[in-house]
Subunit: 193 residues, 2 copies
Amino acid sequence: MRSAEFDREFVLRAAMKAFMHKGFNKTSMQDLKAATGLHPGSIYCAFDNKKGLLLAAIEQYNLDSSACFNTFFDSVDSPLAGLTRYLDYIVDQCISCEPESSCLLQKALNELAEQDSDVQTLVTTQLRRWQSGLENIIKAAQERGEISGTRDAKCRARFLVMSIYGLRTYGYTHPEAEDLRALAKQVIHDISV
Amino acid sequence: MRSAEFDREFVLRAAMKAFMHKGFNKTSMQDLKAATGLHPGSIYCAFDNKKGLLLAAIEQYNLDSSACFNTFFDSVDSPLAGLTRYLDYIVDQCISCEPESSCLLQKALNELAEQDSDVQTLVTTQLRRWQSGLENIIKAAQERGEISGTRDAKCRARFLVMSIYGLRTYGYTHPEAEDLRALAKQVIHDISV
DNA sequence: ACCTTTTTTGAATGATCGTTCAAGTGCTTT
DNA sequence: AAAGCACTTGAACGATCATTCAAAAAAGGT
């Protein structure tokens, strides 16, 4: 046996960035070779094909961003404050206008979900996981009385996911800090009441 | 002089559909030839190149959907009722899961805005127009007392645009009528209060 | 130290891409 | 009716695409 030389996480993060910059179809194997440092043969050996690399990159994206997600709720203070910080962070990403700060799941969804059922299935699974993470936070906030119980947590989590999608898309055309922060603030308010 | 044989609107609507099905990059000139019935030479003669056809299709999309938009507010009854019907219509589109019912502006934005400034500029312009249309409706609703004046119309229009983006994206992963209708209902409520 | 096994390498492949162009076709004007 | 011009046609172009493969390199097991 001989173990692979390349660092899998490094390669997947590089591929992630490449896909976020140009989208799936516009990113060529040459681009991926340049970004990852892997020759075509190695990519095909490790990930089957270009789509396999995308699927692996999406999984890595989910690992990374769920780790990031958790940092907002690790500390001991209120879940609602965590949500507020989380939305602030997303607004920061929108303002930065860097393709690397966009959401790979959303990009893949818009470009490929209607065409490729593998991508559709994987992205849907990952997004459901994220939504249920949000649902738990909301539930905790409701138990603390920070968020009203007039609507159940699942419904509120759905609204939050929808709003974050919307915020990111809106940011593409209108990346102005003040307005995006006001939108985020209203989302937090509408979630709480 | 000799006038063009093809029906420009028909061609642009056909191209629209093709782009909505596969996205810009994945739609080949062969696809466009099949969809529009135009040979490559005619397309290049009339629209310069593939991107030119996309830009023209986006403009046609805007004409069509702003005409459609107006039908929801032509009648004499309340602007708020119009907004409700409009959101219902968008939810219907989400539920149908037909690529032709998606939003070309949103697709183009996600796939190309970060890469191509012509597309970015055109889409941003069109979206601003749509937003200001919504703003006028909201203003009218506020004058009638249907929507509270605690927040200004521009801010509410922004929130509505954001929510509709979000709704459409959310629909890709979760096209279930009941849940989407509940989300739309909450959006209308949050807009009004 | 040698042999097996696996990865890496990078050139080559056939397919398909967007685009061009010269010949053909048919209005429109004179 | 004839001539001119603009549009249509569809084959051909070079470029680039995702993918393959055989040779070279390197690690592990004995």
